[in-house]
């Protein structure tokens, strides 16, 4: 039914956006939307709201795993480097210490672990969030600049199988927003 509205040229429809004043309202709206069976929708807020992802029935635990594996790699690289250098590549008698003085390799191993893990955290997080993405259709929505200040938005995207211009708008209005608008974007 997504072809209910045919937009051949000019701006494409990205979806309907509803604006709320309070975080609680957004959470309620999100829950209802999810219950209503919508999948392609997202909520926008000027700060993280606890319970919102749950309300949206959204789960993703990949970031911690990425961090973990990066950490492991870091540890291996750190210790491996020192072991290779002092035992294989150029073993030397340094102050009578054995070539493989593992005790003294601990600090560097630890630092490498943290370094890799931290890089993993940031790169992984932004990567999964698909950032950097300077352009996004939702930026074309009315009032959206306040999404980074004091307004809360819910967008149901046209790509959603259940999306229907009329029905969706009515559904959104039923959630008690300050206003509902159509988001038209150059690129979706």
């Amino acid at each position: 039914m997504s072809h209910a509205i045919e937009v051949s040229q000019g701006p494409k429809v990205y979806g309907y956006i509803a604006e709320f004043e309070e975080a609680e309202q957004l959470v309620q709206a999100a829950r209802k939307t999810a219950e209503a069976g919508y999948r392609d929708f997202d909520a926008y807020s000027p700060f993280p709201i606890h319970g919102l992802p749950e309300a949206m029935r959204f789960k993703d635990a990949r970031v911690p795993w990425i961090i973990f594996f990066c950490g492991v790699i870091g540890a291996i690289v750190g210790y491996g480097l020192q072991y290779y250098v002092t035992v294989f590549d150029y073993p030397m008698n340094v102050g009578g210490r054995p070539n493989h003085s593992w005790v003294q390799y601990i600090p560097i191993t630890f630092e490498c672990t943290v370094l890799f893990a931290a890089l993993g955290a940031v790169v992984g997080m932004f990567g999964l969030n698909g950032l950097p993405r300077p352009y996004h259709p939702v930026f074309e929505a009315k009032n959206f600049e306040r999404a980074s200040e004091d307004r809360f938005f819910l967008v149901i995207e046209a790509s959603d199988g259940k999306f229907d211009a009329e029905a969706t708008r009515r559904f959104l209005e039923s959630l008690g927003p300050t206003e509902v608008n159509l988001v038209e974007a150059e690129e979706v």
């Binding site: 309070e22 999100a30 997202d42 909520a43 926008y44 807020s45 000027p46 700060f47 993280p48 709201i49 919102l52 992802p53 949206m56 959204f58 993703d60 635990a61 970031v63 911690p64 961090i67 480097l81 020192q82 250098v85 002092t86 590549d89 150029y90 340094v94 210490r97 003085s101 003294q104 390799y105 600090p107 560097i108 630890f110 630092e111 490498c112 943290v114 370094l115 893990a117 931290a118 890089l119 955290a121 940031v122 992984g124 997080m125 932004f126 969030n129 950032l131 950097p132 993405r133 300077p134 352009y135 996004h136 939702v138 959206f144 600049e145 306040r146 999404a147 980074s148 200040e149 004091d150």
Partner: protein
């Protein structure tokens, strides 16, 4: 302690006054937006800092041209101001990470108003610190040999050396601090992007914010990453100063070879760090009218932490004395005697005064809430922590095992030039920071407000 701190004992809220998300945003972002009306103090401080930066550049140029000989270092005192300042700055940096990471993990909500500022401090302090290990080498142009890279010499760094550990520790610390800081900054840059009028600033903020749009899904991953970063930074910050303390602890020099060093250095770092945060925060909150965000409570708590860490450090001093006696090692015992009665004894007793005695004023709540006094104490503590490193480094070196090679150390103007130069650099960077970057994490303040604000009904009344 965590308990008492989470719920402010008296009813003073973490954010004072009747605020809205907009008003909070306005307070902080406004500082950056309204470039016109900056306090006079800003210009004074900036000019001061910039002047000293030129001193720094001059000192560095002359240093690279002439050699380490322009400093007072000698045999036996081969390290002095260079390493003192390195340790001092690294230490100062630690408060930032501690506030943003450890307090975050401990759910200390009051950190919200100061973490951004403290993190920035970390980064600049580490920059200052980083200069010294590089420039104190006799041939800085080959200092890159400390990095491991496959080369035609078939040579590698020597991973048993604490200096190589330093290279890894400090560079990791620098990287992670920047990542942490920037991650926290992204949503606020988005705010700026959406608020500022100036096209150029807008684009800059836009690029910096990576197209952040506050999607709930993003927020979720964001928080996952952020909390784990905090979890990583916490052991990191401890490890960094531990490793710095290894520079001394792994040696065989009396006064350096001490197992107490790691904890005692870390405590010292936090001690100095909070002193520095206070030194800046106390005037800033007035100049930028953010007293309702950085409240007297904040000052109070920071003072408490200073007091606590100060006591740990002082314990360290006592333990050193105990070790000297208990070790029954004549060299250790002489080292202690020399600190007390030797040619540098005044420095030692001044250290005890600065780090041990004066901070005890902070036991009294009245004092903790006396801005002038807290400010003074934090300055004293900064000096004290510098003296501590002076006692540890040159004073241990100048009289070691063979009396025949004992000597004295006298700094030259170039030693001071480098020291004050870095201070200038730090001041300059801090003031550039407050001018161009939100000095308080706006989104966290909003988040905090959303939870601690009075009930909505009351808000409605207020609005009506």
């Amino acid at each position: 302690m965590a308990e008492t701190l989470t719920k402010p004992h008296d009813e003073e809220p973490l954010i004072e006054g009747n605020q809205t998300y907009a008003s909070l945003t306005e307070t902080v972002a406004g500082v950056v937006q309204r470039q016109k009306d900056h306090p006079k103090a800003w210009f004074v401080a900036f000019v001061l800092g910039f002047g000293l930066v030129n001193v720094l550049l001059l000192s560095i140029t002359y240093l690279v041209y002439m050699g380490i000989g322009i400093w007072g270092n000698n045999q036996p005192v081969a390290w002095s101001f260079d390493i003192i300042n390195f340790v001092w700055w690294i230490g100062i940096g630690h408060a930032g990470t501690l506030i943003s990471a450890i307090l975050l993990l401990m759910r200390q909500e009051w950190r919200t108003s100061i973490n951004r500022f403290a993190e920035a401090m970390t980064i600049f302090a580490v920059m200052c610190a980083g200069m010294y290990p590089l420039l104190h080498t006799g041939r800085p142009w080959v200092a890159y040999w400390l990095l491991p890279y496959p080369n035609i010499l078939a040579m590698w760094p020597q991973p048993r050396s604490p200096l190589v550990w330093d290279v890894f520790a400090v560079s990791t610390y620098m990287t992670v601090s920047i990542l942490f800081w920037y991650t926290g900054l992204v949503p606020d840059l988005a705010t700026l992007r959406d608020r500022v009028k100036n096209r150029f600033a807008k684009v800059l903020a836009g690029m910096g914010s990576l197209g952040w749009r506050g999607s709930a899904k993003h927020w979720m991953r964001y928080e996952q990453a952020y909390i784990i970063l905090a979890g990583l930074s916490t052991p990191l910050v401890l490890s960094v100063h531990t490793i710095v303390s290894f520079d001394f602890a792994v040696s065989i020099l009396p006064g350096w070879q001490a197992t107490i060093f790691p904890p005692y250095f870390v405590a010292g770092a936090v001690y100095a760090g909070f002193a520095m945060v206070l030194t800046f925060m106390i005037p800033m909150r007035r100049w930028y009218r953010i007293e309702h965000l950085v409240t007297m409570n904040h000052i109070d708590w920071m003072a408490k932490i200073m007091l606590t860490t100060g006591l740990i450090v002082f314990y360290g001093y006592i333990v050193e004395v105990f070790y000297a006696w208990y070790s029954a090692n004549p060299y250790e015992q002489f080292m202690m005697w020399n600190r007390w009665h030797g040619p540098y004894a005044p420095a030692y007793w001044l250290l005890i005064l600065c780090n041990g005695v004066i901070p005890q004023l902070l036991w009294s709540k009245k004092n903790r809430r006396n801005l002038k006094l807290v400010f003074a104490v934090s300055l004293v503590v900064s000096l004290g922590m510098w003296l501590e490193r002076f006692i540890i480094i040159p004073v241990s070196l100048h009289r070691d095992f063979l009396p025949s090679s004992w000597g004295m150390y006298y700094p030259t103007i170039w030693d001071f030039g480098m020291f004050f130069g870095t201070i200038g650099f730090f001041v300059m960077m801090m003031f550039l920071f407050v001018r161009f970057i939100p000095m308080i994490s706006i989104f966290e303040v909003r988040e905090l407000w959303s939870r601690i604000r009075p009930q909505r009904a009351e808000v409605k009344e207020v609005e009506a």
